[in-house]
Amino acid sequence: MAARRCLGLWFFLITLCVVSTGADVLHTTPVTGTESSAAGTETVVARELPEAPSDPGEHTAAEPTREGEQNDRTRGGEQTLGQPTREEEQEQEKTREGEQTPAQPTREEEEEEEEQEQTRGEEEFTREEEEEELTREEEELTTEEEELTREEEEQTREEEELTTEEEELTTEEEELTREEEEQTREEEEEQQTTAQQEEQTKRWEATELEEEHVHDAAVPPLAGDPPAADPPSPPPSKDDFQEELVIRPLHSGDIYASFQFRTVWDADFMGDQKVSHYRLFPKSLGQVITKFSVRELHISFTQGYWRTMQWGQPYLPSPPGAELWVWFQDTVTDVDGTWKELTNVLSGIFCASLNFIDSTNTVQPSASFKPLGIGNVTDHSFLRYATLPREIVCTENLTPWKKLLPCGSKAGLSVLLKSEKLFHSTFHSQAVHVRPVCQDPQCRTTSMELRQTLNVVFDLHTSGQGKREWSLFKMFSRTLTEACPLASSSKVYVDVTDNPQGEQFELSPATPLLTQAVVLGDRRTYSVYDLTQQASFGSSRSLNMLLRWKNSHNNVVPPVMLRPLLHSERYVAGYGLQAGEIHTLIYNHHPYRAFPVLLLSAVPWYLRLYIHTLTVSSKGKDNRPSYIHYQPSKDRERPHLLEMLLQLPPNSVTEVTVEFERALLKWTEYTPDPNHGFYVGSSVISALVPSVVAMDTNSTLDRPLFSSFFPCKEEASYFMRVYTEPLLVNLPTPDFSMPYNVICLTCTVVAVGYGSLYNLLTRTFQVDEPSPGLAKRIANVIRRFRGVPLL
């Protein structure tokens, strides 16, 4: 064992020696979190100090100081140039290490392992690492304090801005702003609810499983954690990675798997100091965020449409195709230019056609899409939103997405992400969300949170061969063998709400851990598998969960349509290629509660909306939207944007219709397949939906009476976003099969036919004596000369 370690260390030293020929390589060396690498960095620090004494800032602070920035920038090029080889080396090294130490202990594990008996060598390494961390933390604390004061200043400045903005509002606009505020509040609440969901999860776990989850306290606090849950004095790590997988059996017999990978980094991308040390946070994204001053970035790629009527609500909704929305920081002056560049860069990063996002499909929603991170921004001129409904998502998008994960697809939950299975599914959606979150309960500093999510639904009939029996192997053709060594938490949740006593299906291997959470307004119970616990893997050292339904005689249960509280439908009505009508139906299935929704639809310019035909009706009566924001389109420049705040009466269908005319494009503007039709992106419905828990009249059964009279605030309603179907609209299309012939024929007909007809109609024809020719004239002269009669 010791010999192996020595070998690893020796190898690492060699690689570092090769690399450390440049003086400042240290800063790009990612700390992989294993004990050997930590030891390695320490040795390098020791060696480097005498070599580069002239640049003290580099070692004291993680972020280079102002003076060092110039150097740093020049070095940036070198770094990027040198990057691939280094990465390769690291990968090699990682694989070596993997071979050498089959079960790589994470830091969290180390803490536990410290208590247990371990080999002496490992202990030494961990202690060394801890020491190193401590020193680094001390250094950071000072910088953090500085940052904190700066943050506070910023906050006060923001507050001032807010107040001034509020003052500026005239009385006429009051209603609008109230709604806007409401919306922001909604959005905030959504943020809260998501945070609360997590918090809830934690709490339930913590209360129920106190023995097992003691070490949870060591995990740095999540965004929005209330002070109560605040651990006394956690050693604040710079970055943190969590992974989880939620498996939900759906009513229709299909199965829904939702991966979430969360990296939180206490780095200040927005500050003046440049971030150049990357560990768990993907550098490619970090650089983009820094370069384009992005406050929040949300990008999703979806193949398929979420079937709300059969599957219920998704954890993270997304429209078919690609969706991108970005909040820029208020320091950005040329937002449109930055947006254009950003889309092109993201297009490269994700191998997607995001470069097709231009002004004709970008909108600035005024009320929808409030920031999900901290910071109450109201100026929507820093927001850009675009969808590409035609984008087709496939492996070439999945691979770069997986590369952003700290463990790639080599360990942890991400080993399940094999494209041949992921794309043999009914629904596939992958997303990246970057947003600033609070670092601590007081929210003095911010951290960047990167959430990578992947949702996939496997079909009962095509993937499951009609049998209601699901296992990890059947879904992904892989099983789980270990957690990602870099992850502080790695869990698999299985939704067992409908199966409290195991009467519906059987879950094996059984797990004693249960947790409850209020998800999308519904209290759900989950079985938890903690992958950081060796016990989860059992004797076979691999976890292959199996859900087997009990009633085997009736394997295929006829799927009953659900009645989700909110769902929608959109279609094009009418026929012919001249006009049409877009119908959007929004269903409120709540038996007695009305709730407001915000409808956003962006329609391309080539459908000319007749906004005077806009009608909104529910239950056969006119339903006046309390807020309408309409931005008319400009041909070839920008799309229509229509935002409305609607109140949905209980148990009703609200129908929004608007007529349109189909434009005749210029012949170069048609796509190569014009007869396929043109896409109109999904409408977005953002809503505060009354919670099922609050609606539940039987809640007195499992709750004390005194707690259930007033619906409790956080459960009363929840934020939800629903995307409608995209539309495929045929435009009048010329016959492109023989354009040359068509052009020639048309031109000929116009020239000849019109010309001569015009001639005939406008000219008058008179018989005129033709003037004599030259020969005749000469002859006449001679004749006159001779006195003979002229010709």
């Binding site: 095509t462 295929v556 009505a573 009418g574 026929y575 995209p726």
Partner: protein
């Protein structure tokens, strides 16, 4: 065009045209008819070929295994149908749900303008059931439709069985890129109309239907299946839709290609393709096939449930299973495989079917005549009208000056506007009466005469039509002393140009209808003057009138279908055809009845007026 600019040459040309007008017209007419008859001659036609790349080279494998099970489902369906005495909605919903489809129903009701005696229905109430197979990883933007009608009696049970069998098989496949809608429609075309109107949220015919709950985006293609026996000898492809619209030829090519691949006999108009084009019988076979298509297209009615899709720019065709006494039979599995193959190829489509022809005639399933080939036949007929108009124009612009005894040249006064306008208005009013009165006055007729509503409508129509013949006398009573030589010429000029425009437009939309009308109305328009022998001309005019053209077409159609009828049966058929025409207009928006009543008949009346000009 220099020819026309030069006045001398122009005069010469016009002179020749007016001098040789009658012979040229005769030649044109005969050339037109000959051209048309030549269209069925195989060397003059083109062989069909697949134009759409997405459907051409991509090979698909048909693996549908469960024909027997599908037939069993069909029998179960029949049993439930018998039990409920109509559409077994609950059973269908359950069965489709068990096959993993999203199932929805649509109720509709329709009160016909008058009872339909052929199908014995007046107050129609029904339910359509459809299940949507959601394509995996597709965003609900495109869909294909497979429909089977739920017919009364023992019809089409097998079609529903195969539809459900295919649904089950398709559901377990991963390769679908478009949603597939499996539709079982009640009351054949009325149900289909309700469903299509509901799907596209339009209401063109005033039907009551409940809105649809589930949709699959824009429908790219549709097939309607009619199958009433467990085994079939051949499959017949029906293309003619509402108002003579046809689906893209590639759909027919697709059907033919798969029939060839799987080895199923396939026909169109119930006629097998033959190879002996050089024999007389081979040629006459092709002519018969083409004439059947022309007559069906001219009838402007949908000849299968697919016919209503075409209005929405959805390529659609009906496939009918035929079980005759031939020895070679095809089982349900093969039919299922054929449909599977077609749907897989349609699923591969990247664009709507647009590459091939939309305007064509088919003398056999392997041959087609494109618009470029058949339009000259009509053009030659239409040319006659233009020549006659030119002749009249020339006559009018250079009036024959009559010299009175004093030697003073008297130019006859040009006729007043009124003398032209009056016949025009009156004949059109008659047309309006023909269009509106039959349906409006049915109750009145039923009260006073011992007839049923349907008979009342048809007989009223015929009565008004006949009463129109008496108009000229009444017109002239109104206009005393207006009947000049100039007058009828101006009227005839207007009528000829009117007819030319009318036929031209009709032929562009529905070539067959335009051509048949031109065949009868053009000679009439060409020769009618007040100076021809009145009685004989009147008889000829009546024979060539649109109403009797329809009667001849009915007999001719029966003859071509090899089911000749006696005069009595023919007459009954004629009456039912008229009632069906009026119903088609009211129910589905067929344009033949208004076209005939509001435009063609008044136009014919104008010529009738000219004949009796005083």
């Amino acid at each position: 065009m220099g020819l026309l600019s030069d006045p001398n040459r122009r005069r010469a040309l016009i002179g020749m045209l007016t001098r040789l007008n009658a012979p040229i017209c005769m030649i044109c007419y005969m050339a037109g008819v000959a051209w048309f008859m030549g269209l069925a001659f195989e060397p003059f036609t083109l062989r069909t070929y697949m134009s759409e790349n997405a459907m051409g080279s991509t090979m698909v494998e048909e693996r549908f295994p469960a024909g027997e099970r599908a037939l069993a489902t069909g029998r179960e369906f029949a049993a439930h149908k018998k039990k409920t005495g109509g559409m077994p909605v609950d059973w269908l919903v359950r069965t489709m749900q068990a096959r993993g489809l999203e199932v929805y129903t649509q109720r509709f009701s329709r009160k016909l303008p008058f009872p339909d005696e052929d199908k014995e229905r007046y107050m129609v109430k029904g339910t359509n059931v459809y299940g949507i197979l959601r394509a995996p990883r597709a965003p609900r933007t495109e869909a294909l439709v497979l429909s089977a009608p739920c017919s009364p009696g023992n019809e089409n049970n097998q079609a529903v069985g195969i539809l459900l069998g295919l649904a089950q098989y398709f559901r377990s496949q991963i390769y679908w890129a478009k949603d597939i809608i499996f539709l079982v429609n009640e009351h054949d075309l009325i149900g289909m109309q309700a469903w299509l109107e509901g799907y596209h949220h339009t209401n063109t015919t005033g039907m009551d239907w409940s809105p649809l709950q589930g949709r699959g985006g824009s429908i790219q293609a549709a097939l309607s299946l009619e199958l009433s026996s467990d085994v079939v000898t051949s499959l017949d492809l029906v293309l003619e839709g509402l108002n003579g619209q046809l689906p893209n030829l590639d759909l027919a090519n697709l059907f033919y290609a798969f029939c060839q691949k799987i080895g199923v006999l396939c026909t169109t108009q119930g006629k097998l393709p033959r190879n002996d084009w050089d024999t007389t019988s081979g040629y006459s076979h092709a002519v018969q096939t083409m004439m059947l298509m022309v007559l069906k297209q001219a009838s402007s009615r949908p000849w299968g449930d697919h016919g209503l899709f075409l209005r929405y720019h959805i390529e659609a065709a009906s496939i009918k299973g035929v079980n005759s006494f031939r020895p070679y039979k095809t089982d349900a599995t093969t039919v299922g495989r054929l449909l599977e193959g077609m749907y897989r190829k349609l699923n591969n489509l990247l664009e709507r079917l647009h590459q091939s022809y939309f305007f064509y005639l088919m003398p056999s399933l392997t041959r087609f005549v494109s618009i470029g080939y058949y339009m000259p036949a009509f053009g030659l007929l239409a040319l006659i009208l233009l020549l006659r108009a030119l002749d009249l124009w020339v006559q009018l612009s250079s009036p024959p000056t009559r010299t009175t005894e004093d030697g003073v040249e008297v130019v006859p006064a040009s006729p007043g506007v009124l003398s032209i306008l009056t016949p025009l208005v009156i004949s059109h009013l008659t047309g309006v009466a023909l269009y509106t009165l039959p349906v409006l006055s049915q109750e009145l007729a039923v009260e006073h005469f011992p007839v049923s509503e349907t008979e009342a409508v048809v007989l009223t129509a015929i009565a008004i039509y006949t009463a129109g013949l008496a108009l000229p006398h009444n017109t002239h009573r109104l206009l005393a002393g207006e009947g000049t030589e100039q007058g009828w010429k101006v009227l005839k000029l207007v009528a000829v140009l009117y007819l030319a425009v009318l036929l031209g437009c009709t032929a562009l939309i529905n070539f067959s209808l335009g051509f048949i009308l031109a065949l009868t109305l053009v000679p009439l328009a060409a020769f009618i003057t007040p100076h021809v022998p009145k009685t004989l001309s009147a008889v000829v005019m009546v024979i060539l009138s649109p109403g009797l053209t329809l009667l001849f077409a009915v007999f001719f159609f029966q003859e071509l279908q090899e089911t000749p009828v006696t005069l009595q049966e023919g007459w009954m058929l004629y009456l039912s055809v008229i009632s069906q025409g009026i119903l088609d207009h009211a129910l589905y928006g067929s344009l033949l009845y208004p076209l005939a009543a509001l435009l063609v008949y008044p136009c014919w009346l104008l010529f009738w007026n000219i004949l009796f000009w005083k």
